[in-house]
């Protein structure tokens, strides 16, 4: 994705490393790079998170607004994903250069969140047919170091965990139109249950083996990858979205192996994420920290 030029020799080096199950940075094929996650750092958003996965940097802000529900689904709220590839991340994102990648990322997230078993939009309904919450998930890509799909989905999930939807205390009916009263107390709010929210795992095929969490260099060596959206429900993993990316094709057995690898990686990743989020909340609680800046 980021424009990195590698020579044939460098590519062969990476390929051999993957074959030996010993990648350039010392990881095995099933290891992730270290991550840094921070929530609640954008003061104007209802929920926010910043995730740094080695060199990939993603900032997610969530805004909640009141909207009219769709006439086909009067008892459901709305969620919309928007990805912006900043030109800071890579020079080729300048102008409309990042549009295609941004669309693909947003589309994958929308597909993964579409099933009501993964994300129940009924929770966002205020008055059926009249008022509902609309969540705008704005994702900003600050730096591109490979494996954008995973980073974006993790950050989105963390930001949704952090989102506080104000509690609606009263709804007055005035001439058939509903009038809402929002609670005065800024701490009186509801949270979004994140138990079933899907995360995405990219499984990258390099040579004959599959790896998770490819770095930007490794992505250059691969011609086909599979993005697996995994949602956990009652201890079982389900795929909520699977699609192939890259310009190559796969054998059906490879494809199935990739999905299985993605599922097992997603399971441990998901556990760690939930653990980290709970830990952060316990330590900081509702105290407002002094937020300095995003870039370190």
């Amino acid at each position: 994705m980021a424009n990195i030029s590698l020579s044939e020799a460098e590519k062969t080096f990476i390929l051999h490393g993957v074959e030996e199950d010993f990648r350039c940075d010392g990881r095995s094929r099933r290891d992730y790079r270290p991550m840094e996650l921070e929530t609640d750092l954008v003061s104007n958003a209802s929920g926010s998170a910043r995730l740094r996965l080695a060199n990939t940097d993603v900032l997610v802000g969530i805004k909640t607004e009141i909207d009219k529900p769709n006439y086909l689904t009067p008892d459901q709220g709305k969620i919309e994903f928007f990805v912006d590839c900043s030109a800071n991340a890579a020079p080729e994102f300048e102008g409309r250069g990042g549009e295609e990648l941004a669309l693909e990322l947003a589309d994958t997230l929308t597909n993964a969140y579409e099933s009501p078993k993964a994300f129940d939009l009924k929770l966002l309904c205020i008055l059926p047919g009249q008022q509902c919450w609309k969540l705008f998930v704005d994702i900003l890509i600050l730096e591109c170091g490979g494996n954008l799909f995973d980073a974006v989905s993790l950050a989105a999930k963390a930001a949704l965990f952090n989102t506080k939807i104000p509690r609606v205390t009263a709804a007055l009916m005035d001439a058939g139109e509903a009038e809402l009263l929002i609670s005065d107390d800024p701490y009186d709010c509801t949270r979004i249950p994140i138990g079933n929210l899907p995360i995405l795992v990219t499984v990258c095929k390099i040579g004959d083996s599959c790896v998770v969490d490819p770095s930007a260099e490794e992505e250059e060596c691969s011609i086909a990858s599979v993005v697996v959206g995994v949602s956990k429900r009652k201890g079982k993993s389900y795929t909520s979205n699977v699609h192939t990316i890259g310009e190559g094709s796969l054998h059906k057995d490879t494809m199935h192996n990739c999905v299985l690898l993605g599922l097992s990686a997603a399971e441990s990743l998901n556990n760690e994420l939930v653990k980290a989020l709970k830990l952060e909340e316990e330590r900081i609680g509702s105290k407002r920290r002094n937020i300095v800046g995003f870039l370190k």
Partner: protein, 294 residues
């Protein structure tokens, strides 16, 4: 609501809703009960009509009817890219545009999202099959219009583009075919219709907890045994996903026979025409020769 893309072309009122909103809506379970469910699993394609070279004005085109789904694909000859383009590589660039006719679906509000996501999926499916190294620094434009959508729109579009690519004389590694399978309430539907696709996407949460639902589209190359694109949406266990993928691959082979048959006939027809044409021109030449001698 008018489809945003069409608002300039057609004078819809700005804030209108389809009248069906006010009709009594059936419960999804009732719709499901009314559907004729397959008794046994038959891995067959729908009745198919395929015409290669349906348009005269473009390099290659195809028109396909897959049951009631109707799709037209056209391919422009490769065009050279301007020098200022940053995307320089040794491989040609493929761009896909997919448009829905405003009357193709019941609810036009979903058209913009379908258009962008299907165009992306179509591009990913077709890129691996085209010999892109044959036209470096060139751009190949593939245009698809969906005239009527009764389910399986994406897979039909891929099939149609595969045939159109052959008609356009673009070198490909293999013939590409695709098909759709979906699962809803433990019943598997091969080539789901628009009603079933709608049911799958508007499933209600209050159901059996272990229930799966989802839709799988797979595009494959039979000769080299490769999947170029696999797209799944919904909520499926990995085993089910594998099973559904196997089923789509089996249908793909059936569709491949149809496409191959049509292309074969087209070539035969072309050869016959060429032969007739050659004979005709021979006689014309002979006549003119005679004329000169006289």
């Amino acid at each position: 609501m008018p489809p945003p893309s069409a608002s300039r072309k057609f004078m819809y009122p700005e804030q209108s809703v389809p009248y069906t909103v006010y009709a009594k809506r059936e419960h999804p379970d009732d719709i499901f009960a009314k559907l004729d469910k397959p008794n046994e699993l038959k891995l067959e394609e729908r009745p198919t009509f395929l015409k290669v070279g349906a348009l005269e004005t473009v390099k290659g085109s195809a028109y396909m009817e897959y049951g009631k789904t109707k799709v037209m694909a056209s391919i422009e000859p490769p065009r050279e890219l301007g020098k200022q383009t940053k995307k320089i590589g040794t491989l040609g660039i493929v761009t896909c545009t997919l448009k829905y006719a405003p009357f193709a679906v019941k609810d036009p509000a979903c058209i913009p999202r379908k258009e962008t996501s299907m165009a992306l999926a179509l591009k990913k499916a077709l890129e691996p099959v085209i010999c892109r190294h044959e036209f470096p620094y060139f751009q190949l434009e593939i245009k698809v219009i969906i005239l009527d959508d009764d389910g399986c729109a994406l897979s039909t579009a891929i099939n149609c583009c595969g045939a159109a690519l052959v008609d356009a004389g673009i070198a490909t590694y293999d013939l590409i075919t695709a098909s759709t399978v979906c699962k809803y309430k433990n019943v598997e539907f091969i080539n789901p219709s628009a009603v079933i696709e709608q049911l799958v996407s508007t499933i209600s949460e209050s159901g059996d907890d272990d229930e799966e639902h989802g839709i799988v589209v797979t595009a494959s190359l039979a000769a080299v045994d490769q999947i170029t694109e696999c797209f799944q949406k919904g909520y499926l266990k990995p085993e089910t996903l594998k099973e559904l993928t196997e089923h789509t691959l089996a249908i793909n082979e059936r569709i491949l026979d149809t496409v191959r048959f049509v292309l074969y006939n087209k070539v035969k027809q072309q050869l016959r025409k060429d032969k007739d044409g050659a004979e005709m021109s021979d006689t014309i030449n002979a006549v003119t020769d005679l004329g000169i001698e006289e």
